[in-house]
Symmetry: C2
Amino acid sequence: MKRPLLKIGELANLANVSQDTLRFYEKHGLMRPSARSEAGYRLYSAQDLQRIRFILSAKEVGFTLKEIEELLALEVTRDEKSCQDVKSLVDEKLATVTQRIHELQRIKKSLQSLSDACCGGDEPATHCTILEALSDHDAGSSLVGGKHHDLIK
Amino acid sequence: MKRPLLKIGELANLANVSQDTLRFYEKHGLMRPSARSEAGYRLYSAQDLQRIRFILSAKEVGFTLKEIEELLALEVTRDEKSCQDVKSLVDEKLATVTQRIHELQRIKKSLQSLSDACCGGDEPATHCTILEALSDHDAGSSLVGGKHHDLIK
DNA sequence: GTTGACTCTGGACCCCACTCCAAGGTTTAT
DNA sequence: ATAAACCTTGGAGTGGGGTCCAGAGTCAAC
């Protein structure tokens, strides 16, 4: 028994996204419906639902549609040839992701110290702004941002 | 002894951003130079450098300029009135940040399993795509995305 | 067999976040 | 004192990521 396919409106509701957006993603190659009805209606499977959810959450954390497309296109094959290519792309993305997690954790920490300092905190306003909270946590550790900073030209 | 102020080109190089972008951010209220020279040149302090770096890293992890402006505008004051407002905004952002960290960690895990499965892995291609890797990790745990899913209308 | 809710395609339009001039003033090096 | 390298403002243009029609076909219920 295979489960019924979803029409675009149904998928849109489940994924909390507009129908237009689904068609837009399709036009740009991020996802296509598993099937079409006789009349040409798009029909989506459970995998499609999973896929759109992935797209949305990757977008949430700062990936562009192009990057998401790359992520979705990744395929580990037995083919020795493509293997290195895939691995290097994956490792590159992995580095990006790790980096972003660190950045978010820094932000989280300082938001937390702001939240704590706020009302009810006995110490009256230790850090007053997010930047002060940040530089305080950073004291003595790695710098904000930094990057490889290859001066242009 | 106070340290010298930076001209826009110098700040731009240090922060790895274009001068146009700095002026753009200024126009939109995200940052203004600490001073202006007699001739009207923008002059930036070390704090300004810290600020632009924060802006860039917040952007990296998916915040819009509007949200970043809100973050930067947060101020914990002794004023009992504003306190609750600030705290609720901070806590809201905190939730967003935490959520994003989780999403990134999920992505990270599946990238890792892809990377491991890739070349040199003895098991020939356990998970072949990122979606398969994801659904595998998720088996039995919380769903992908989900949200409160209040159907529109 | 008509109403109402759904879907289709195609194209116009919109906002955000830059990016790129043009025309001119300033600073520094020679 | 003049060129090269900087800076200024203002405004136009661009690309990404949607969003919103219009006009037409489909489907279920009455």
